[in-house]
Symmetry: C3
Subunit: 214 residues, 3 copies
């Protein structure tokens, strides 16, 4: 992790986290607003659900590692991108009707992979141990969805969907292992994120299951 | 925001936040206990719901902006005022029966306005940008009610009631705009809070709605 | 509280908190996994419920008092012990069937007492006032169960079970009073924890109730 502390790497790491966070924010807001639009909430309620889905995971991460004020409060682009993502979903909904499941699955899987990477990266940059950082990556990736489901008063889908948090965890662990093996940060993040997305999409497509309690 | 950093203004701002927080705490605790008293919880459960309603929003605000230990843990008056508010509601309930809706609406609206102002003020005092501070004002105002509703296992009323968080957000934005225009802090907070309360009461009375998703 | 600041006491206090936290973590994870195993979740979901039950209370405590990064993220033993506790519950479940209620009540009561003590101790060590520290002890003790129940979409049992948080609060207050009276930390923690466990087990056995709202 010592490489992280040199300024040029911190800058690269920060830029990766920011870019990834903004991409994931837009995708999750699009997905959250798409889900909420079909549930009879008014425009404000839809915006809240979209923003919570998009920014909730990163806020929980920031609070737990002590990176406060939480990033999404310091950088206007987070909120702006979340509202843009929500507006895009509402425009689609108004023009073309209910979003097809496939169109919700894809941004969700990519958002999952991106947030898993940025969460793990940021945890490492805040000197969280490499063994604990993947937990924070997973929390960043699934936290927004958990908060959204709690607000909508349902059991969080992450506890019901079979390979979801598991995919985020696997990608995060891969990122840490690749960095330890000397792979450059950007390449490691791309490979870890791709592994997460592939695992998530494949498992949804093939109906893979984790074993139940014996 | 630079005016905030001079000691005399910080002191004034701190005093405003403290006084407003205590007023809002008592009002929200009164309302929370009034709601809980009708729901079959024992005295401890009622006290928990009252305290969560009263102090939850401020705690979430403090954790997100890094003002820890959270204010309510450092100043005994917060907990004391919350318990007094709850006791007043229980005394009313015991002597005069179920609290009429109007008597729950008024303290709720005033608590909403007061917390929106103190939340925005405190965020500015912790160098949160003026564009993000109203979000924290809104979160302070509605956070306790959201946590209460999550504990009671219902969809948070803030997502169902039409002009509620919107009123807090409008008042908070007005506060920031007035301060930017050079209006003294106290006057700006009074005007912003009054706008929030008026908007909330009027909309409840007139049955105003936000538009639904197209 | 000034005694806490001398290095030898801090060390003792830290060791007490760590040992107690690990014991409570294992017990709560065992209980959480035992509950979850009967509810049709897959292995990952059971692990999440066990970890949240075991570590959630301490994380909320750490975030509120500003002890971040949260302890459970810095010390691998927390996560390891939680997974061991969950594995033990699953092994029992696989070999001997549903865990008897008595076997869930006992670790739960002991975990409650231990976490109430470590939460109060750690709050004092972070200079939270002796009057507020028992609240943090109670939150540490019941927080994990509250988060678990929120995830499982039920009203938290702490609001329904009669003497539960009350027992944690009573034990935490006793700890503070004994320390103020000059009783050594270890003895005070043992007595406070024993009082909490005894009160919890007795009340469950005798069916004691708190009064309802008048």
């Amino acid at each position: 992790v010592s490489r992280l502390r040199s300024p040029e790497n911190l800058t690269l790491s920060h830029r990766l986290v920011l870019g990834g966070d903004l991409l994931g924010t837009g995708l999750f807001a699009f997905e959250g607003a798409g889900l909420a639009a079909g549930s009879g909430l008014d425009l404000f309620g839809i915006a809240v659900i979209a923003v919570v889905t998009a920014l909730g995971g990163g806020m929980v991460r920031d609070v737990l590692i002590g990176a406060v004020p939480a990033m999404a409060l310091c950088d206007l682009r987070y909120g702006g991108v979340a509202l843009l993502g929500a507006a895009a979903a509402l425009a689609w909904h108004a023009g073309l009707g209910t979003l097809p499941d496939a169109l919700l699955l894809a941004p969700d899987a990519i958002g999952l992979g991106v947030f898993a990477m940025t969460g793990t990266e940021k945890a490492l940059a805040y000197n969280i141990r490499p063994t604990a950082a993947p937990i924070l990556g997973t929390l960043t990736a699934v936290g927004g969805g958990v908060l959204r489901d709690i607000l909508l008063n349902t059991v969080p889908s992450v506890l019901r969907v079979d390979i979801y948090a598991t995919a985020a965890l696997a990608g995060s662990i891969l990122l840490v292992l690749l960095r330890r093996a000397g792979v450059p940060n950007t390449v490691a993040a791309l490979l870890g994120g791709a592994a997460c997305v592939a695992l998530r999409v494949l498992s949804a497509h093939e109906g893979w299951h984790l074993p139940e309690a014996p």
